[in-house]
């Protein structure tokens, strides 16, 4: 395995959880709900996936547990912000703090236990293609799911009727409501999809990335996912590009250090963020296109008149 291939493999592992979590949040935000609790839902997913795997011995049950815990946890957010119309920003932040605490409790007995790594699924023949075969066809289930999710979300949002309804709810909930679309139900589903994705991303952390459980193991990846959604101006393909760019820069800076190229490590550590800012400036120089992509009702509460 060449060094280039090795770097790309590490990049894929590093980018996958952020891309999955961001994709879920993208759908949530497209419906007009800003859920800042991604970090909390992600860490819940990581804890539940790990515990379920240790108890049952099957990482696949772990994945299901991760998805389910993320979705259930996001339901709490949905109830508070959609049914009780609580402030979305404050509730989201509270979800992060709550998630970090509760996950610590769930996982406490499992800290330090060596985990079970999610096995690779090798596609025969395709896996033999030089470089690409190793990178794309000898991966774990969650990686394949992440690709399917990108394609699926892109299709759903821009090619399906339900996706159009979801976007209309996110752009103007009053108009959508007037057209007979059930705004609250749509948003509940979008929030739960976001939670499920965050949970799956968490499962990737505790089953693939580093098969173990330690408190706070997300270490800020939920926040990066949130930033990625804005970075991608709410477009799935840009989101994938951004996620992999971020991953590539983060990993290359580690390699650059190991090569000993003599650039200060603090600068190298800041590189992924600098790259993000640079791209953001490039993307947002045209204010019109940015506005077109931003869900107009993002973060605004909706109270249906009775």
């Amino acid at each position: 395995m060449g060094i280039f291939e090795a770097i790309l493999l590490t990049v894929i592992t590093a980018a996958t959880p952020v891309v999955i979590a961001a994709l879920g949040e993208l759908v949530t935000e497209r419906s007009g709900v800003l859920n800042l609790g991604v970090e909390g839902m992600m860490v819940m997913g990581a804890a539940c996936a790990f515990v379920a795997t240790q108890v049952t011995g099957s990482p696949y049950i772990g994945i299901l547990a991760g998805i389910a815990s993320g979705a259930l946890f996001s339901l709490l957010f949905g109830f508070l912000t959609l049914s009780l119309v609580a402030n979305q920003v404050a509730t989201g932040l509270a979800m992060t703090i709550l998630g970090l605490g509760v996950s610590g409790m769930i996982g406490e007995a499992y800290v330090g236990q060596p985990g079970i790594k999610l096995p690779q699924i090798v596609f025969p023949l395709l896996a033999d293609i030089p470089v690409l075969g190793r990178l794309l066809f000898q991966q774990d289930l969650i990686f394949y799911l992440s690709i399917a999710l990108v394609v699926g979300v892109q299709w759903f949002l821009f090619r399906s009727r339900a996706g159009l309804k979801l976007r209309s709810v996110g752009d103007s909930h009053s108009s959508a409501h007037a057209l007979g679309i059930n705004v609250i139900r749509t948003r509940y589903l979008a929030v739960m999809f976001g939670g499920a994705c965050a949970g799956l991303a968490g499962a990737q952390l505790s089953l693939v990335y580093t098969p173990q459980w330690v408190e706070n193991m997300t270490a800020g990846r939920g926040w990066i996912a949130l930033a990625l959604v804005v970075f991608a101006s709410w477009r799935p393909w840009r989101l994938v590009a951004g996620g992999y760019l971020f991953g590539a820069v983060s990993i290359s800076q580690l390699h650059a250090q190991a090569f000993g190229i003599g650039i200060p490590s603090q600068f190298l550590s800041a590189l992924p963020y600098l790259a993000t800012i640079a791209v953001l400036i490039l993307i947002s120089h045209n204010r019109r296109t940015t506005l077109i992509n931003t869900p107009a009702a993002l973060g605004k509460p909706f109270v249906p008149d009775r």
Binding site: I3, A6, I7, T10, A14, G104, E108, V111, G112, Q113, P114, K117, L205, Y209, T210, P211, Q212, V214, E215, N216, M217, A219, G220, R221, S250, I251, L254, H255, Q257, A258, F259, G260, G262, I263, P264, S265, Q266, S269
Partner: protein, 356 residues
Amino acid sequence: MKKLLLALATTAAVIGFSAAASAADKAKVCFIYVGSKTDGGWTQAHDIGRLELEKSLGDKIETQFLENVPEGPDAERAIERLARSGCGLIFTTSFGFMDATVKIASKFPDVKFEHATGYKTAPNLATYNSRFYEGRYIQGQIAAKISEKGVAGYIASFPIPEVVMGINAFVTGARSVNPDFKIKVVWANTWFDPGKEADAAKALIDQGVDVLTQHTDTTAPMQVAAERGIKAFGQASDMIKAGPETQLTAIVDTWGAYYIKRTQAFLDGKWETMSSWDGLKDGILTMAPYTNMPDDVKAMAEATQAKIESGELKPFTGPLNKQDGSEWLKAGESSDDATLLGMNFYVEGVDDKLPQ
């Protein structure tokens, strides 16, 4: 109604008073942790020390701790909260708590503070540290014997003297066995991020190192080393569970004895500020069992450990040059503690530019 309110107020006052009285019976010893008490590394080692303290002096004291306290402004608030809540002796267990501890210590002259791994003291603020570098010197020697390629990978956290000292000790130990030994350093710029630590480990292994050591807090690098089939050293706690066939040894922090000693002094009214810096001989750090290595390497490691414990061997003893080739220590000369505690240069053989 008025009567009822008055009665309630009196009851509350009595309850409040009795709570204060019962708390005053036992001295309160408090701890601030930078990570989670079950992190399997640095913080867990401190928490084990706290539990030993409770076990030993539990009839006279009670302990309290705050975990996951970020270094920075939050630390100041957290320490102040403990100081206000009646803690008599407060241990702040991370280098990054230094300035916060100094500030709060000046505000609460009656409370005693102990800051781990720092260098600023006050009449009510002592510092304590462990000579981790003694363990790293032994690790370096083992690495030089085990490595076939003569290159070790070193995952570092932040460029503070403590970490730089560790890198230098490792290289000095390794070069005492193999004068051409090299290390590659990757700065993760974090103490705690399993993903990033794993990425750093992968990067180092992909670039050809065949033995790995870390100065970060999770077992993720050990896990990656196990997966890739190379050997590695644990940090702060025994990490053998993460790599039963991988861990060569680990520097295990054993703070308990120190915590008991200082709390006893505090209870006796004999607590005084000091800068304590104990090593292998005092039992403040121990080496995890030497495993996964040939017998002759194990014998060498044990011999070196014995020599360090007896004081016969001081890891930083000349002739030693700085990275640029200029002389640091003449033959037979040993470094003084002040230089080590403020260490901001590499010794010869480190293949990295020190972030300043």
